[in-house]
Symmetry: C2
Subunit: 454 residues, 2 copies
């Protein structure tokens, strides 16, 4: 039984795996502060070379990505995306152990980046170890692309992938691994929403004025409020003309998958302290809306005085930061154009629109070979049916691989748990989850080696 | 000629006046920081006692007001309102001379509070000097009420006036003096707008959430934007039902007065950097709108993230600070009720409304004896027709005297100039303006002594 073989090997090598994972976590690699980036890239590269991978650093002007490749016995190639950079650890005083000590407490490793996302690529590297030890060779050619700028929005990743499209060419691609859910069920995510992030700014007088002038001097705050009021109605429907044109509604298979996604509705409402969801939806309808509906959210709005008490000022500037989560096949550039034209048509041509972020939505069909392999590997390792999420409500750079390589990605359950605290103090990975993540990686590679490339 | 007499006396006593004014300015009296308040009240009280006034301190729990009274020969009593407290002087580094040095440079006294508003009551005290020296007695009974909390919104003034209504009872009342305009024409202000200041707050989830939840978790930002959108239209009309019910439009006499108010429209637009006034009004129509229209202004709005770049957050709270300038006979409590009922009727009962400020509008008819006396005194002193502003666009505590004493106030041209920099570094009074302010005060008292009480 190959599964027993992998499991046995992982158990036997547990201490070495954990030591190596801790070593990577102990190397700070804070991309936004340029702390330890070179050292971490070198460390990761060295670990891959030790396994017989040929490695290179790929750069398009930012922190380099570590690229590694090792041939396998089949004609199949699998690309594994990950990132070695981490968020800043602050606030330090809230950590129960130093963020770069990777201390173990009661079977859990605490450290910045252990779950987001060093644990994920390390589990795949250790999955490689298992296959090499058990089989003497890899069942597929494995390519790693481990970038160093994900926490900053992957600014140069599209260029890196575009420039190295031939090098990165693969049959299948795995996104950075995910996590278990609230009930410790493994989760497979087959897509993610896109994102358009814009800042709308409206200006009035050239400086803030005493508010006695408000009867004659135009207010940019009112202007922005009126403009925003035309973008979304009180029921949550986005009213930008054409916004929903390219939305692909969930298929019957998607809805079937949704029925198997546990949705702790009452718990979620209690946790968030809300009485109703947007539009009053419940149950499956709420879950469908959560995952399949695009959004138009005001992430921030600011104008004038926001301190204590009263100040009578006519603000000279008002701005709103908006993030629009997009679903296939809504394209951020297209939506940005529709928003701009809608503002112009409404007489708001003077309101400036700066695009601060743009990610395309992606979906991999549930019956695609990569989806089937990850789902089957999860069944084997976790001994239960994984939660299959057709499209995740968050966003990320998966689209880059679709656009330049034609690859639809899936995120395996990875090594995380539901309280992994990404971007927050006391980020953690449970050792048992990590070892299962190693097993899943090995199983996925094996299953893909046996599959016929699409 | 009595005018020559007053003028001559003022010229002869110029150095003494300036020395005494500087002494009062050199005594800091920062009400918000409780710096020098007791000392300044004592100093002002002493100056009034030296002139034969009977004095008391009146308090309703805050910084005391200096009250002083000296009988005159006629049956007429005039109440002079002023304040001895000043704004904090910060930022200190921007002053060309220490803020409490009251240094004289090229005929101008620089110091915190010299124009706002110590110069005003000192000019009236020196006006008393002139009358006593020239006539041996006062033509009217003069009462001073010089409060110590104006810079903090006069929180206890209503209670002080209410409790001492018998003591303060008068025939006429003068508000703290004003200033000359951009063309150095003296300005008489016969009223001021009221104010309702509220903070509207809307809450959603119990904490900020990742914006991926925006498709199901209600956004308080959108809710506030939609609610605000129902308060005012794009043309500047307030759409709260009943908002304009009690507005008294300008009379033919008001419009006649407006025609004599210089309105540097192009200069004002250039100074503020705006192309058009609200609603596209011009000329007399713009001036009328400026002075006679109530407003509904958003002084501040805040929610979510307003830092650099993009943050994808679904805010849990949104709030707006609103200041509504009211015109006679709009009453702040009534407008607050209408706003609350409008929000409730629109389904926004969950949006909280906190009242942070409330001032009633006041107007004194242009042909009232107090108006006529101040206008005539200005003609005599300045040798030109004063600018008579029927109602000023700003707000203040005049209404307190109307409500508890039945007194309609007028602000004489005072001692200020158009660049007096109230609340800012390098606040100043020009000595020539100060001396004219002394003359005006003396003339007003004389004219009121000759008038028949209304």
């Amino acid at each position: 039984m190959p599964e027993a073989g992998i499991k046995g090997y992982v158990e036997a090598n547990r201490d070495r795996f954990i030591a190596e994972l801790r070593e990577v976590v102990q190397q700070p690699s804070i991309s936004s502060q340029n702390v330890g980036m070179e050292e971490c890239a070198r460390l990761v590269r060295g670990m891959l070379e030790k396994r017989g991978f040929q490695t290179r650093l790929l750069s398009a002007g930012g922190h380099p990505a570590v690229y590694a490749e090792r041939p396998g016995t089949s004609a199949t190639t699998v690309l594994c995306y990950g990132h070695y950079d981490v968020q800043p650890p602050e606030p330090l005083e809230e950590w129960i152990a130093p963020p770069f000590a990777a201390e173990i407490r009661e079977g859990t490793i605490y450290g910045r980046g252990v779950s987001d996302h060093k644990g994920s690529f390390m589990a795949r590297i250790h999955g490689v170890d298992a296959l090499l030890a058990l089989d003497g060779e890899l069942p597929v050619t494995i390519k790693f692309l481990i970038e160093g700028e994900e926490e900053g929005g992957s600014p140069t990743l599209p260029e890196i992938v575009r420039q190295n499209a031939d090098l990165l060419k693969s049959d299948y691609a795995l996104y950075a691994g995910g996590s278990k859910d609230e009930n410790d069920r493994p989760v497979v995510r087959c897509g993610q929403k896109g994102l358009l992030y814009v800042e709308l700014t409206c200006t009035g007088a050239e400086r803030d004025l005493h508010s006695r002038h408000a009867s004659v001097v135009p207010s940019p705050v009112w202007r922005l409020i009126h403009a925003l009021g035309t973008l979304r109605d009180a029921q949550g429907q986005v009213t930008i003309p054409g916004f929903y044109d390219d939305v692909i509604p969930p298929s019957p298979e998607d809805m079937e998958a949704l029925r198997n996604v546990p949705f702790a509705e009452a718990k979620m409402k209690a946790n968030f302290g809300i009485a109703e969801f947007v539009g009053g939806v419940r149950g499956l309808e709420a879950l469908k809306q959560f995952l399949f509906n695009p959004t138009c959210n005001v992430a921030g709005i600011t104008a004038g005085y926001s301190g204590k008490g009263a100040k009578t000022v006519l603000p000279c500037r008002a701005s709103a930061k908006m993030d629009l989560r997009l679903v296939p096949e809504q394209m951020p550039q297209d939506i940005a154009g529709k928003l701009r034209r809608h503002l112009d048509a409404g007489g708001y041509g003077d309101i400036t629109m700066q695009i601060l972020g743009s990610l395309e939505p992606t979906r991999t069909p549930l019956n695609a070979p990569i989806s089937r392999a990850v789902i089957e590997a999860s069944r084997r390792v976790y001994d239960q049916e994984p939660v299959v999420v057709p499209i995740w409500a968050g966003s990320g750079p998966r689209y880059v691989f679709k656009r330049y390589l034609g690859l639809s990605m899936v995120a395996d359950p990875g090594v995380g748990h539901c309280d992994g605290r990404h971007h927050a103090p006391n980020e953690s990975v449970r050792i048992a989850d990590y070892l299962q993540g190693v097993e899943v990686a090995a199983e996925v590679f094996r299953l893909l080696g046996a599959a016929t490339p699409a």
